[in-house]
Each structure stands twice: as C-alpha cells, then as structure tokens.
Symmetry: C2
Subunit: 352 residues, 2 copies
C-alpha cells in the first residue's frame, strides 16, 4: 500500500494539501487543474489521485466528493514534500527588534513568543520558560518576617527566582540571617543540589538547616518542567471549521488547560516520530493521544542544551499551514536560544 509515489504524484499530493489547507473543502480533480493551471486534463489528475488514495495518502469523504489528505498524507507531506515558507525578512527584523526592545524580562519574552507564534500560525501556541537542567545556586537571601518565620529568596543561575517561607525552630535576628545567607552565597555559589549536599556537613546549626531547604528547592526547580506555561491564540482554534462542533474543540483545549496532561505530553514527545530540523510534528495524535485525533501539535526546544532549555509549541487542526508554522517555530527557537545564551554568558562571565 505504501510504495513510493511517482514525482508527479508527489507534486499533486502537495497541491491537494495546499489547496485543502486553504479552503477546508475536499479537493476535486477539476479544481486542481483550474486553480493551478495544470498542463494536464482532469481525467489524468483523477487517475493519479486514485493512485494516491490507493496508497493511503488521500481519502474521499464519500464516493462523489473530492479528496482530503489522510494522516499519512500529511506525514508524507511534512516529511518529504513540504518546502518551508520563509518568513519575510522585514517580519524577522520586526520580531527580533521587539524581543531586544523588551529588555531582559523573561516573562515578557514568553508572552511575546506566544503571541507571535499564535499570530503566524493562526493556531494556539504554548511556550514554557527556559529552565535550567541543573539548578545552580547564584544567590541566597534570608529576610526575617515575624518571629520564627523567614522569607527565603533563592536566585538560580539563569535568573529564575524562587521564594518560600520557612519556619525556624527559634527566632533569629536579621543580622545573623544576613550573615548566614551571605556565607552560603559566597561559598556555594554556582553549585548544584548534589554538590551542596556533599558539602553540607561543613556548616554549623542554622546554616545546616537552611541548606536543607536550599537543596530541596534546587531539586524542585530541576524537577518542575517549568513554572508556567504561556499560551495564546486559543480562540484561533475555535475559529477553525473542524472545531465548530465544540466537542472536538474541548478535547483539544483540555490539553492546554490541564498542565499535567501537557507535561506528560511534552515529556513523551521529546522522542517523537516525525522531526524536521528539530521540530517535532505530531499529526492526529499519532494514534496515541485520543484528544488530538483531529489536531496536530508541533513542538521544538530552544535554549542551550545541557544548561537551560524551554519548549515552543503550536496546537491546531490537522489541516494546518505546516510550512509557515514550522519556519516560524524554527526562527523563534533560534531567536530565543540566542537570548538565553546571552544571559547565560553573562552569568558565566560573572563566575570567572
């Protein structure tokens, strides 16, 4: 069933996908000939479409309807036929400019990335903040609040900040707290949880206790996929005809709402089937994700591998402008990677 299509068949398959993405209606042989001024008759096209249908790349909603790509068809298109629609240079510049103008606020970057992705792909986007794979201590601060309660602020290499309220066994004056925090900051700077645990025994009572919380928090930082998942363009997917019945829409949106589902998905998808230049393409849920049966999910990682990475994703109908979406993803991933690299270099420099 899946023998290699001829060149002409591949060409026609690409046209069918393109046309179907554009119109959301089954594509007929005559439409193709007229729309793309093909140098052959509709009968010839019909024969070829019949062959593609035989091979499993197209299907007919019913006997007297045009053709629609199957999941297999989309996969073949994305993997073998698609040419990326490069973003116009002006657009790239505008976007780059926006990011650099935004300063160094990670949260703003994430919102902007989500917004750009949603706009360009006309689908729902999701972005996770860059997340250190090994959380290393950059700075510790202890602030006395009331009695035995202390606010612990943990600055992690890369800029992430964690806060937490501790309850100590007895009240400790601010001077003492500052002194301990300062000692820990200086002596354990740039160390990760494991390393701090090994050195913990060198510290006395209060510092020893505090380090317990620090280690705990560093581990927590490594474990959580990311504090927050930024999304945008949810309403885009509701606008698509395949989600007009709203039951399908719910299925898809549930993913974006239930972070646990999403995290599982992200975790399992790192090793996904269809990858184009670092972009994972999940079409129709790949038979595994019931809720995504009608949808496609594109994912890519950005950042500096081994140090801090995050995820960019687009969720939309299977009938999606893969070319434009993938190249947007790639462009944004590159841009964000540069930004992350720069902040890491800054930290690095500080270390030496």
């Amino acid at each position: 069933m899946n023998r290699e299509p001829t060149e002409r068949q591949k060409f026609l398959l690409a046209l069918v996908v393109h046309e179907y993405v554009r119109t959301a209606m089954p594509v007929s042989s005559l439409t193709l000939v007229e729309q793309y001024k093909l140098d052959m008759s509709s009968a010839t096209v019909r024969n070829e479409l019949a062959a593609l249908t035989e091979m499993g790349y197209l299907r007919q909603p019913h006997t007297s309807a045009g053709r629609v790509p199957t999941e297999e068809g989309y996969r073949f298109f994305v993997g073998r036929l698609m040419q990326e629609t490069a973003l116009p240079d002006s657009m790239r510049h505008t976007i780059t400019h926006q990011f650099y103008q935004m300063g160094t606020d990670v949260e703003q970057w994430m919102r902007l990335a989500a917004s750009v992705l949603a706009h360009q792909s006309r689908a729902a986007s999701l972005v996770t903040a860059p997340h250190p794979e090994r959380a290393r201590l950059k700075h510790l601060e202890l602030i006395s609040t009331r009695g035995r309660q202390v606010l612990m602020v943990l600055v992690i290499v890369g800029g992430e900040i964690r806060q937490r309220i501790l309850t100590l066994s007895e009240p400790v004056p601010q001077e003492k707290l500052s002194e301990v925090a300062d000692r820990i900051s200086r002596q354990l700077q740039d160390r990760d949880a494991d390393s701090i645990r090994a050195l913990r025994s060198h510290f006395d009572g209060l510092a020893y206790d505090i380090l317990g919380y620090v280690i705990d928090d560093l581990y927590k930082t490594e474990r959580t996929i990311s504090g927050e998942i930024f999304t945008d363009g949810l309403t885009n997917v509701l606008a698509e005809p395949e989600f007009s019945n709203s039951e399908e829409a719910r299925r898809a949106l549930r993913l974006l709402e239930e972070r646990t589902l999403l995290q599982e998905l992200l975790a399992r998808t790192v090793f996904a089937t269809n990858a184009v230049g670092g972009v994972q393409v999940l079409i129709g849920g790949e038979g595994t994700w019931e809720d995504l049966r009608q949808s496609s999910l594109l994912l890519t990682r950005y950042g500096v591998p081994g140090q801090a990475t995050g995820t960019l994703g687009v969720l939309g109908p299977m009938r999606m402008a893969y070319g434009r979406t993938i190249s947007t993803l790639r462009f944004l991933a590159g841009l964000l990677s540069d930004l992350v690299a720069e902040t890491l270099v800054e930290d690095e420099h500080h270390t030496n």
Copy 2:
C-alpha cells in the same frame, strides 16, 4: 411593563429559572406542575406565566414553546428571589484545609482558588493575585552579574517579588552593591514610592541612581492590576449547549485571553449595577459588552481594602447556577481575605 409581580408570580419565576438552569430547555406550564408538585393546575400556571411574559421577565422562543427567562428575568431573580445555596460544611472544611495545607505560596493559592471556583460553578473562573494598593519596600537586593549589569531584586511588603536587570554607568564590585542595598533596605523599609522619592536626595551617587529604579518599580507595581490572571475551567463553558456553535464560545473566551479587555472590564465593573453582598453580577453583558451577550460574569474582590486586594470572577452562560456560584464566590473571598490579612499582619508585626 415592570409593575411588581405577585408573590405567586415571583415564586413561579424562581421555579422557571431553576428548571431552565437545570435542563437548558424551555419550561412548560405542565412541566412545572409535575416537577414541583404544584397545588394548582397547568392552566393557572399558564396565566401567571403569561403575566410574567407581559412584564418582560420571561419570553417564548416561539408560540408553542415553553418559557425562558429574559435578562430582566435573571436580574430580578438574582436581586430579589434567589436564595444562596450554601456550600455544605464538609466542603468548606475540605477547601479551607487545602488552602492552609498549601503553605504560603501565593501562586498556589491562586491556582487552587481558580480550580475550586471552576469546579463549583461549572464555568470558567478567573483569579487575580492579591495586589498591594500602595507598594512598600520590604527588602532590596543587588547582585552583580556581568560587568556593569546588575540584577535587582525587590521584595515588596506582602510578599510580591520583582526582578530586573540594571545597567550601571560603570562596574561596581559586589561588596559595594551589597552595602548600598543593605543601607537602602534598612533606612527605607516600609516606605512607598512617594515617600522614597522625598528622601532620595539624602543619598549619594550610586544609591541615588539605584533609588531611581526602585521608585520606578514600585510605581509599576502599583499600576499593574496584577502580574497574572489565573484562569481555569475554560472547557466547562464550551460544554454548555449555548456555546456549542463556537462563535459564541469564541466571543466569551476572547475576554479571558485578551488581558487588556479583561482589565478594562474589571476596572469598569467595580461600579457595576447588580451587587449582592459584594458580588457584582453582570448579566448578558448589561447591554454594553457585546461579547458577553449570552454570558454572565460574576465578580468579587477580596483582601484587605486599602492594603492588598485581588479579584475573583466566574464567567459562564447566562443560564447559570447563580445561587451556588455566588455563595462559592463569597466563601472563597472570605477565605482568601483571611489568608491575605494573616500575611499582612506578619509583615506589620515585623515592622514594630
């Protein structure tokens, strides 16, 4: 058209609302008699329903259909007829317990609040974090990163934390930075932006510069309605029949997605028409909000007025279980207010 209904008419109006909320189908006179074992005939009910229709509280989708509440009908119901469905004690305890178990992480509180609200109301919920009306400095930290770049961490009374990267005119060693931060923290603790601005001239070069950023950030904190708006239960509203056509669904969800719209709404709604014990009830967009024509929005504030407050909201179809939703809102607002008050007291105590 709006003369006062008789007692019996009010009673029947309440029944119609109740029944329609339950079934989402037009309510007939016979249904009412049977469902609620009324001590009168369907003909009598019919006469009363006709009167209520005349008054504008009910309408008929077509001649031979049952009755459906109008916006006016819902307003009358909420304002005059509704009895709140108190949450069962066991539920209150469970929820309270969850909050106290969660510790002092504000973000977790918000997520939990959004989740509880969405569940209880079976609609979409939105929650903004408690936000100080006057941002007062609690603690300042300056951390050298690379060359002239410095990470400024601002802890604000109430627990909020802001971070920002500054670029100084020349490199400054960490010791000097710490000393300046420490001096500022000690001397300007608990002061707000205005107060710090007045005292700024007492400080020398570096500290003076830094204070500029501090003042700026404090103002920013006061201006932003809240860093983040937490939502949950978006898929609940998609499940409602009135949103099955997806165009309506988009309109409603757009509000929750576009934070600017939402902020405008929150700002203008503080002075809204229909308020029940602190809960603002916006029915059918009150003629102003085109996107909410089919929806109702319930809002309430929580926190300590004049110090730190936040907003709780529920967005759902006009056909909503107002009783349960409002009492849930009230309960949660009280709970969160207590929590906020406690953290404020802690800070207060620390001050003395």
